[in-house]
């Protein structure tokens, strides 16, 4: 979280070997093993095993969604409703102060209690969904777009550009993410959009490496070779085959990454650099409420629970998506 935010965990492209265009399978595995497993299969895997009896293929058979996935989907649905139409759930306006009733514990009128200004914590948590999710998703979008452009540039631009881009990402990755985000906020100023950019920028290098690794694998693939043999121009091969086939795993990883992005956003808010008051971002609520936790416990518990539940749900659903996807790409026979 705090300091975990930077890395879209496990997305450091073809792994620690900072260079290595053609990475060894094991290195690839090291990278992919770190949570992403996006299906970057080493291209030169000979196929000694005929038929589909390799044990790995078994994982491909998608299971029915378990109870966990169902609950997670429900949580996400509630969060989505809160984000889209908070008035439906909230009891009052998120910024309605009522100093007389400040710091009350949870009761009928205030299910989660009130904060130091007498605002209804429940309503603020509900209204906070939009901001928190926007921040999380927005930063992922920033990261994916920037990372993808950078990664594709590296692959498309020839050796020199590739080397340059990779060194730049090395440098960016040597900056711990939260500190990179701090720097970006220092340059751009605090605020929701800038926080989004900051967190996005912090995870963009990871995505760039992921995209690059993926695109390199695709570029070595049989179908790209087939297209070259057909005499298609380089650029159109790149656009038609390399780009579209490099992206899906990245998008899948992005869903899983959304969770960490949300936590990162909340961490930034916690440091006062996220959305502006009185916006009820969950991290900011915890940050502002932390002095009053012993007076109104709801203030310290519910926003945290909201972040945690949302991120758990995103992880569960994202992981499931990822598994399905993996099943499809890496073990295509089924």
């Amino acid at each position: 979280m705090t300091d975990r935010l930077p890395v879209p965990i496990g997305s450091r492209g073809e792994g620690p070997a900072m260079t290595a265009a053609k990475s060894e399978t094991a290195v690839q595995d090291a990278a992919t093993g770190a949570r992403e497993r996006t299906g970057a299969v080493s291209p030169d895997r000979r196929a000694p095993s005929r038929g589909g009896t390799r044990p790995a293929a078994r994982r491909a058979v998608p299971r029915l969604p378990g109870a966990g996935t169902v609950i997670a989907s429900l949580v996400l649905a509630v969060v989505a409703v809160a984000a889209v139409w908070p008035e439906l759930l909230a009891l009052r306006a998120p910024d309605q102060v009522d100093p007389v009733h400040a710091l009350q514990g949870p009761d009928g009128a205030h299910p989660f209690g009130t904060d130091q200004l007498g605002r209804d914590v429940f309503s603020r948590v509900v209204h906070g969904a939009r901001l928190t999710i926007t921040l999380g998703l927005g930063s992922v979008v920033v990261a994916v777009v920037a990372g993808t452009l950078l990664g594709l540039l590296a692959v498309a631009g020839g050796r020199v550009l590739d080397e340059v881009v990779m060194r730049v990402t090395d440098v960016l990755m040597a900056f711990p993410g939260l500190l990179l985000a701090l720097l970006v906020v220092a340059v751009l100023g605090p605020g929701t959009t800038n926080a989004m950019i900051a967190i996005g920028a912090a995870s963009a290098p990871g995505f760039a490496r992921l995209v690059r690794g993926q695109a390199l694998v695709v570029r070595e693939s049989g179908y790209v070779q087939a297209a070259v043999v057909l005499g298609l121009p380089r650029f159109s091969v790149f656009l038609r085959h390399v780009v579209p086939n490099s992206l899906p795993p990245v998008l899948v990883f992005a869903t899983v990454h959304t969770g960490s992005a949300i936590i990162a956003g909340s961490s930034l808010s916690f440091l006062g650099l996220g959305p502006q008051a009185p916006a009820p971002e969950w991290g900011a609520m915890l940050s502002e409420g932390r002095d009053y936790v012993d007076l109104s416990w709801g203030l310290g518990v519910f926003p945290g629970l909201a972040v945690t539940a949302t991120v758990v749900a995103i992880n569960v659903v994202g992981t499931r998506l990822r598994r399905r996807f993996e099943g499809r790409t890496t073990h295509g026979e089924h």
Binding site: G10, P16, V27, A34, G177, L179, I263, S267
Partner: protein, 313 residues
């Protein structure tokens, strides 16, 4: 071929590390340049100053020179290992950083060791095993991954320090002061580590060689310890490298919540007060730590995976 390359390999990696360090310092320098507002006024703080005084300081700090000249001087100093003197604290950055390093390193190592131990135990006990323990461990992983560290910190502090008074509430210097922050940080990492480890172990347990080992009568625990664990170590080492690298440049939020000294907070303060030498100093140190960890990680790969010993770079 197996033995000739390591030296070259190491040399190349160290060169790259140096490059990365310089790159990071440059990035920090540029970021500080891009930050809005007059750097001299900002570092003088919100208390107003007369124009002459400001100009005088501007001259003293060299801010009246062109950007390129300043960058050149900055690089020059960096090459000689001089990190400069803090504008704000008027103290050599080197001593400032070394002063904070200990606290950062102890916290990072303590938290990391805890997390690693936790992840190893969790993964080794559950990987490829029965459904229920795996589910429970998996849920625990998810929970720790998903709960923001600052929240865990506030909760732990409230319960164990304020209520139960088991641990000092703030900045404790001794072992007891390390417990809560280390546990908080460890909790925020253990889930990811154990998830990655377990997944990798389970993947390797599905490999033919694991089946082979079973076919020669190896039990599940033996299978995990002798075979799967090693395979799990590769992604674990990767992840550990980044985590530790990130930790070594300071855990700003945790340091804040627990009022602990550390590089992270020094850097955060320096960024807001435009204290360029401190910013670049901390960035250089953490980038160097990061780069060295990366080298160490790669070296570890080679130890763990004999196949990589021959691959080079």
């Amino acid at each position: 071929m197996t033995t000739a390359s390591p030296v070259r390999w190491l040399a190349r990696r160290l060169l790259l590390a140096v490059l990365v360090v310089f790159g990071s310092a440059t990035a920090a320098f540029l970021a500080m340049e891009l930050t809005p507002g007059d750097p001299v006024r900002t570092l003088l703080g919100t208390t107003p100053q007369t124009a002459e005084a400001t100009e005088r300081i501007r001259h003293d700090l060299g801010f009246d020179r062109p950007l390129l000249v300043r960058y050149g001087l900055f690089l020059g100093r960096l090459v000689t290992g001089d990190l400069g003197t803090s504008y704000q604290l008027q103290e050599p950055v080197r001593s400032l950083v070394t002063g904070q390093l200990w606290s950062t390193v102890t916290l990072a190592l303590a938290a990391f060791t805890l997390a690693l131990a936790g992840a190893l135990v969790l993964a080794v006990l559950t990987a490829g095993g029965r459904r229920l323990p795996r589910r429970i461990a998996g849920f625990f992983d998810l929970l720790t991954i998903s709960a923001p560290a600052f929240w865990i910190g506030v909760l732990l502090l409230t319960v164990f320090s304020f209520r139960l008074r088991l641990f000092p509430a703030a900045g404790g210097t001794g072992l007891s002061g390390l417990v809560l922050p280390a546990v908080t940080l460890a909790l925020s990492m253990v889930g990811t580590l154990s998830q990655v480890l377990r997944e990798a172990m389970e993947r390797s347990l599905e490999e033919p060689f694991a089946l082979s080992a079973k076919a020669r009568g190896t039990g599940l625990l033996g299978l995990r310890l002798r075979h799967a664990l090693r395979h799990g170590l590769i992604p674990l080492v990767t992840l550990s490298g980044w985590t530790l690298g990130a930790l070594l440049s300071g855990a700003v939020v945790i340091e804040t919540v627990f009022s602990r000294p550390g590089l992270g907070r020094v850097l955060a303060t320096a960024i807001t007060s435009r204290d360029l030498p401190v910013v670049t100093g901390v960035v250089v140190v953490s980038a160097a730590a990061f780069a060295l960890i990366t080298v160490a990680v790669d070296a570890l790969y080679r130890i763990i995976d004999p196949r990589l010993r021959e691959v080079g770079t």
